[in-house]
């Protein structure tokens, strides 16, 4: 019996044929031209009219084209595809607008001299060449450092408790910490005010603000650290224990070194989370225009407070100052964000 061999040529049926490509391009062209025509010859006007018409025309064109080519199912698929792309582009547009406006309105006031002066002899209405935000730099540095010093050990201990010790309350603690990350920041401020000021009789100070931020930072640190610790292979722990190490030695010399970059990421993410918090600081630090080098007593300033104060004053130069503050604050946040990604990517400890 003779065998016939079929020479099958590899095909890519899913690839667009030149014909499909041309019709797709024509469709896109039609969408654009029809939008221009509708905006030009109808009462719809302006950027909003253009955007809305473009969206509608894109959906209509895509739907009609797939319906003609295939069937109703394909048409539904096309319109939802367009909708999904529109949703994603909305998100990009929102972020782009925020960042663009921060740079446009905040960058012009930026100069290195703002880091050498405070506002003790300058009114907010004065031109931006006068005064600076050194007092806010110092305040934020104190407050965030203080919060980091308390929140880091507690957050990492919490993660260790959930992942390593697996104590009786591990599930409960996990659930509570999870819920705690949703506590409104203003509530954290009120709590510290009730506890630290009313109950213990202290006055406004940098550390009060630090305490308030600690409350917000712990859940971020704990949850990220928990995820990182869970990614450490169980084999490593078993190897440590099999060598006769106690649990303490295993954790300290095997697990934590293995998770180090991830734990650093956890702390940096926590800092990025709280560095721009405004509401709790409004209730706890009192606010100041002059440099206060003592974090334990006396009114303190901070970046978010600086922005807030100038926003409420509302005159032209004050608003510019607020944007300048936001500009510097965003640079700070983005630096921490980039650091977190850098350490997170370093050992692939993040998913």
């Amino acid at each position: 019996m003779s065998q016939t061999t079929l020479n099958v040529k590899p095909e890519h049926p899913w690839k667009l044929t030149p014909k499909d490509l041309v019709t797709d391009l024509l469709g896109a062209l039609f969408t654009l031209l029809s939008t221009l025509a509708i905006v030009g010859f109808s009462p719809l006007k302006g950027k909003l009219g253009f955007a809305l018409t473009l969206i509608v025309m894109a959906i209509v064109t895509a739907t009609v084209m797939s319906w003609i080519r295939l069937d109703r199912k394909a048409a539904v698929n096309s319109s939802t595809t367009v909708l999904v792309y529109i949703a994603a582009s909305f998100v990009i547009m929102a972020l782009a607008s925020v960042l663009y406006e921060i740079i446009r309105l905040g960058a012009p006031g930026f100069s290195l001299s703002i880091f050498t002066k405070d506002m003790s002899e300058t009114a907010s209405d004065m031109p931006l060449t006068e005064g600076g935000l050194l007092h806010a730099v110092i305040g934020t540095a104190y407050i965030v450092t203080f919060a980091t010093l308390i929140a880091t050990p507690i957050g990492i201990l919490t993660a260790l408790y959930i992942v390593e010790v697996k104590g009786r309350f591990a599930g409960t603690v996990r659930f509570f910490v999870q819920a705690m990350s949703g506590v409104p920041s203003i509530v954290a401020g009120l709590f510290i005010f009730a506890f630290w000021m009313i109950q213990l009789g202290n006055s406004y100070s940098g550390i009060a603000g630090g305490f308030a931020l600690t409350v917000l930072m712990i859940p971020t640190v704990a949850r990220t650290a928990e995820e990182v610790l869970k990614l450490i292979p169980q084999d490593l722990r078993e190897a440590g224990l099999a060598l006769g190490a106690t649990q303490w030695r295993t954790v300290a010399m095997v697990v934590i070194p293995a998770a180090r970059s991830g734990l650093i990421t956890a702390v940096i993410l926590g800092i990025a989370r709280v560095v721009g918090e405004t509401a709790p600081l409004l209730l706890t630090i009192g606010g100041a225009d002059a440099i206060n080098l003592n974090p334990t007593a006396g009114n303190m300033s901070a970046f978010p407070y600086y922005v807030w104060k100038n926003l409420l004053i509302g005159s032209e130069n004050a608003i510019s100052r607020a944007w300048l503050g936001v500009f510097v604050l965003m640079i700070l946040v983005l630096i921490f964000f980039a650091l977190a990604r850098y350490f997170g990517a370093a050992k692939g400890s993040r998913k």
């Binding site: 929102a94 408790y161 506590v183 409104p184």
Partner: protein, 322 residues
């Protein structure tokens, strides 16, 4: 010569941890419990300081519309009720969900099933950066950049849909309305809703997806038949987490919302409420009695957001475990 065998006495087998381990476990446990107890402490101190105000006002603390300080000269008693603010908080939260959740779920779908590889990574960064932006930045942007546009959109909505009671307009002031506050909040909750939705979408079993495609499903039919039924809980939970964030948002709402102690259904009108913003608004000049009322308001806000968060986490954990 006979070798004398010495049999070492067997080591005692014990599950008793060594001393260092006991110390270690003790330290870690106390650290974990501090974090767990913090939530209880927050609730306790807010109740402790706000109890008097809540007790004296009774149920009207939740339902009353007035926030009036005592004026001893006129013999006017203080009256504190957060009803209008609570209503306003919920309205802006719901508006934020209506506008934010569809976009967030769309973005999550985009990232999971539509995006080409080269745009996926930058897009994830975009969403993460959005989550990292502090609320005061959104407040400033919302007030100076978004509001002029949003005011125009609100006018259009009113012009064409004014017959619907929600979009009616008794006085033509379109700035600082619940609509605009909802818009800003919508942008603020998009990252978290996207992140949670994406996580559950990623857990959809691959074989079911492939089965749907093998049966000839289009991408959308596959999503409708496989991804949504599987991830519904996660999406709902994520939306509720977003709602929790929106309810507690303070500074951003304060800048774009006009606080009015009244209940109005017109969402385009420049009159709304927010418990969190009210606390900041009244805190500066509060006397001790009013401060107690503010603590009470903080407690109510705390409980509401906690409830929403508990529920959201419960739903998400349940979905994730299945």
């Amino acid at each position: 010569m006979q070798e004398k065998k010495t049999i070492p006495s067997p080591r005692k087998i014990t599950t008793e941890p060594r001393f260092t381990d006991k110390v270690f476990r003790g330290v870690v446990t106390s650290g974990g419990l501090i974090a767990g107890l913090l939530l209880g402490l927050i609730g306790f101190f807010l109740v402790f300081n706000g109890f008097e105000a809540m007790r004296s006002a009774g149920l009207s603390f939740l339902t009353g519309f007035d926030w009036v300080d005592a004026i001893p000269e006129n013999g006017q008693a203080a009256s504190y009720g957060i009803g209008a603010m609570l209503y306003g908080t919920i309205v802006t939260g719901i508006l934020a969900m209506i506008m934010g959740v569809p976009v967030a779920v769309g973005t999550a779908l985009f990232l999971s099933y539509y995006a080409p590889e080269w745009i996926k990574k930058p897009m994830v960064v975009v969403v993460d950066v959005m989550a990292a932006i502090p609320s005061i930045v959104y407040g400033l942007w919302g007030y100076f950049v978004l509001m002029p546009h949003a005011e125009y959109w609100a006018k259009l909505i009113h012009k064409y849909f004014g017959f619907i009671p929600f979009f009616d307009m008794p006085a033509p002031v379109f700035t600082r309305s619940p609509f605009i506050a909802g818009l800003v909040l919508a942008i603020m909750i998009i990252p978290i809703v996207t992140a949670v939705s994406r996580e559950v979408f990623a857990q959809t079993p691959l074989e079911r997806i492939q089965a749907a495609y093998a049966l000839g499903a289009t991408k959308w039919s596959m999503i409708k038949a496989v991804v949504f039924p599987y991830g519904r809980g996660g999406v709902i939970g994520g939306a509720m987490l977003g709602l929790g964030r929106a309810l507690g948002e303070t500074v951003a709402v304060y800048t774009v919302l006009n606080l009015v102690y009244d209940i109005r259904i017109e969402v385009l009108l420049s009159a709304g409420g927010s418990v969190a913003s009210m606390i900041v608004n009244k805190f500066g000049e509060a006397d001790p009695v009013e401060l107690q009322a503010l603590m009470g308001a903080g407690f109510v806000l705390f409980m509401v957001t906690l409830l929403v968060n508990f529920l959201a986490n419960y739903i998400i954990n349940k979905t994730a475990r299945e």
